[in-house]
Every structure is written in C-alpha cells, then in structure tokens.
C-alpha cells in the first residue's frame, strides 16, 4: 500500500533559492529507503513536507492515497506514519518519560491502561526498562534520542520517517536501536550521513542532490 507520495514538489525558504525542485518521492508499505545528501540539501524539509508540517509551493502531497493539503487531511497519515525529529528535545515535551511515550497512544484514543501497557512494552523493546518515572530533561543525549523513538513507536505506526536516528548514540545504544528497527515490521525512510548504516538497514539508498532524488 502506498503511504506517502510527493509529486512534482518544490519548496523554497523565504528569500533563499529553492531547496527542492519538482521532486518525486514515494514511500510504500514494506519499503525501507535510505536517503543521503549533503548538508542543507533539504532532507529534513522533505520529511516536513511529507508530514504536512510545511506546505509545498508547487506539487501535491498524497497521504494514504488521498491528496492532502489542510491540517485535517494529514491526521490519518500521522496515525500510520511516525516522524522522529532530529533534535529529541523538540519531541520530549512532557516532564516524565511515561507521559511522553503515552502522549501519542492517548491521542489515538487508547485508554489509560492500554497506553501504560504500550509504554512499558515499547520501552522494553528498546532496552529501556524502568525509565517510566525518569524526568525527561535529566536524561543524557543518547537516552533522549531513544526515548523519543519510543514515543514514536508507541503509536504503533506502519512506517517511520527517521531523521538521523543514530546521531549521538554510543555503539551499544546504536546497535540496540538498529536491532529494534530491523526486527520490527516497520517500513521507513531514513536520513543519515552514515552510509554503512543505510546499506545495512535499507533496501534502497537514494541521494538528494540539487533538489531532486536520484537512485
């Protein structure tokens, strides 16, 4: 099933030359895509467009096969596709880990018990048992990153957009995350500068250059 499709999408930040020029991109269920590209090539911009956080100046965004333009159009897509931000501090806004991880499931209408169950099972799958009562701003950088991934995975998405998921993780934690992802049923698009990681975990690696994606 097709999850996200961008068709002829262009985007420019105000007062700057365009970052993305008539770009086409598709993420379907079962696909695991890697995306490489130089700094400032528009990798994060691409993800923000996919999730409807910014609007393209030209082209269309389709989520789950439907054309999406308004905030409301993107809601069903966001239930199916999670987005891991580059900076975990943007994502962890609650004071305790449990609340933050439960935030998504509760928004999806899960009950308190179900949400708490999802919290503990998700944390466990990432090797983070017992972190429920920890205070988010007292976590180390690596811990924050894993917890923010847990917050995304707790919504049980079909696919995830991962923006530099392994940055700031030590070897052990990076491995734990890689294992959790590879062993899952998830589809994804992953942005990273770590070419080896992409080769290991993705079916196909695309490169974003001059505003377009190339194989």
């Amino acid at each position: 099933m097709e999850l996200i499709r961008l068709e002829g999408v262009s985007y420019a930040y105000p007062g700057r030359p365009g970052v993305l020029k008539e770009l086409d991109f598709t993420l379907s269920e079962g696909q695991r895509l890697g995306i490489v590209g130089p700094n400032g090539a528009g990798k994060s911009t691409l993800f923000q467009l996919c999730m409807g956080l910014i609007k393209p100046q030209a082209g269309t965004v389709r989520g789950l096969g439907q054309p999406c333009s308004s905030e409301k159009d993107f809601r069903p897509l966001r239930q199916k596709v999670g987005y891991l931000f580059q900076d975990p501090d943007d994502q962890l806004f609650c004071l305790t880990v449990a609340e933050d991880v439960a935030f998504g499931p509760l928004n999806l209408g899960k009950g308190r018990h179900q949400a708490l169950h999802l919290v503990s099972s998700t944390l466990k799958s990432l090797g983070l048992e017992g972190y429920e009562r920890r205070v988010t701003y007292q976590l180390s950088g690596g811990e924050k990153r894993l917890i923010s991934l847990a917050a995304v995975l707790a919504m049980q998405p079909t696919a995830v957009l991962l923006d530099e998921p392994s940055t700031g993780l030590d070897a052990e934690r990076a491995q734990a995350m890689e294992r959790a992802l590879v062993d899952s049923e998830l589809s994804w698009a992953m942005v990273s500068h770590d070419r080896d990681l992409l080769e290991r975990t993705c079916h196909k690696v695309l490169s974003l250059q001059d505003g377009r994606l190339r194989a």
Partner: protein
C-alpha cells in the same frame, strides 16, 4: 544539572527545590496542599494588622520543621526572597516633601516603616508555607494537582512547557556563554560587552521561537488536538483529610484573630 550514571536504574523524580523530600508533608496529596496553601495565602495577603502575619511566620517555621526540608536550604531560599523585601526597607521609610513651608526634602516616615514591616511579615509567612508544603512535592505532581483541580488547561499546559523548556533554554544559554568564553570574551563595562549580551539575548529569543514551532510540530505528528493527558492519578488518604481539616481550622482561627473583634486589634 543532575548527573546520573549512564545505565543506572530509574532514580526518583526530584522535588521542586531538588531537596530530598522525606518528611511527612511529602506524602500528602498535592491537591489538598495546593488548596490549603492558596486559602492561607489569600488570608495572609488580606490581613491589615501585623499580629496574624507574625503568627503566620511562626506557623510557617513550624511547618518547615515538620516537612524536614533542611535548614540550610530553607535559609538560602529565605535570604533570596528577603533580598527583594530589602528594597522596600530602602525606599518605604522615607517620604518626599514638597510645599511652601516644608520645602523640598526627604523626611523619615514612621508609617512607611510599619508598612515595610507588615509586608516583610506577610511575605515570609506565605513563603514559608509554600516552601514547606508545596516545596516538598515533586513539581510534576504539583502540575497534575493543578490540572486535577480543574484550573484552565491552557494555563497548566503553559506552566508545564515553561518548566520543561526553561532547562533547555538554560543549557542553550550556557553553551552560548561557553562559546563566547572560548573566544576570549571578557565582560567589562563597555559597548562591546553590551552589544555581545544583546546578541546573546537576541539569539536565545529567536532560538526559543524556532524551538516552540518545532515542539508544536512534533506534537502534531503525534496526533495532538489540544488535549493534555493526565497519566498520574492521586490517592486520597485519611491523612489528607486530617491535614485539610487542620489546615482550614488554622485558617479560620487566624481569620477570627484578625476579624473576630478581639481587644488586641
């Protein structure tokens, strides 16, 4: 900042003032504490005479001892609060005179001294009760208590996010200061220093706006539609009822002392 060993087990969340909250006050339901402290603060603020606030200070000291916050910490916080109060003592005892007979001058004003004394007593009475009762709770529990007490959700959310991102802002500020220090910035009383500080504040402001946008985007991505969920639920115990009854009895007694028509007023 707090340091935890990297793979250690989960430590307890810390209390409002980072003190080990071990006393009996820490185990009370924060909802009861918030309500009692609020009523008590209103009473103290309304008192016209010095007697009841003086009793309030004594009561506050007793509560502080009871909640076992530690005297050193209490002293530190009391000094911080009273450094603001000190300004009142600097300005209130003096009165400007302007007029034909008196001429222009500054004279001693005994009413001002009385007022400064009254404000000092009230401020300390309220402060001691807040520190002793609310300060012994985890800040997270205070937020939740406010939400459970049906304060406007927007206000509570604002409060939570403020506290959460204050730390991020502080770290950003420290990083910027370090970056300045690494390039041999030595603050002095000159234009370069003022300009640099202005830049620092400007950068912090812009970054915080950008951060708030990203935080909101991240919330949208996880299905946020305006509801802030409460995960923690409190358990009301008999001790909480006893505390609230005693608290309100004390508040009523203090009110009677003030407005009951007794000869000492």
């Amino acid at each position: 900042m707090a340091k935890h060993p990297k793979h250690a087990g989960p430590p307890e969340p810390r209390s409002l003032d980072h003190a080990p909250a071990a006393g009996p006050a820490a185990r009370l339901d924060p909802r009861g504490k918030v309500v009692v402290v609020f009523a008590y603060s209103v009473l103290m603020a309304l008192c016209p005479g010095p007697l009841v606030p003086a009793v309030g200070v004594a009561l506050g000291l007793a509560l502080a001892a009871w909640s076992r916050l530690g005297w050193r910490l209490l002293l530190k916080r009391t000094l911080a609060v009273n450094s603001f109060v000190a300004f009142l003592w600097l300005f209130l005892p003096w009165q400007l005179t302007l007029g034909a007979e008196a001429g222009f001058g500054v004279v001693y004003n005994p009413d001002g001294v009385r007022l400064a004394g009254l404000i000092t007593l009230k401020a300390n009475a309220i402060f001691l009760a807040v520190v002793a009762l609310l300060g012994s709770s985890h800040i997270n529990d205070i937020f939740h208590a406010l939400a459970h007490l049906h304060l406007p959700a927007k206000l509570v959310t604002l409060f939570v996010l403020f506290y959460r991102y204050l730390h991020v802002m502080r770290l950003e500020y420290l990083r910027l200061r370090q970056a300045m220090a690494m390039r041999c910035f030595a603050p002095g009383s000159n234009l370069h220093t003022y300009k640099s500080y202005a830049q620092l504040v400007g950068v912090l402001l812009v970054r915080s706006i950008e951060r708030s946008e990203r935080v909101y985007q991240a919330m949208l991505c996880r299905g946020f539609r305006g509801t802030f969920w409460l995960l923690d639920h409190f358990v009301w115990r008999p001790a909480d009822t006893v505390f609230c009854v005693l608290g309100f009895a004390a508040i009523i007694l203090l009110g009677l002392m003030q407005w009951g028509g007794y000869p000492w007023n």
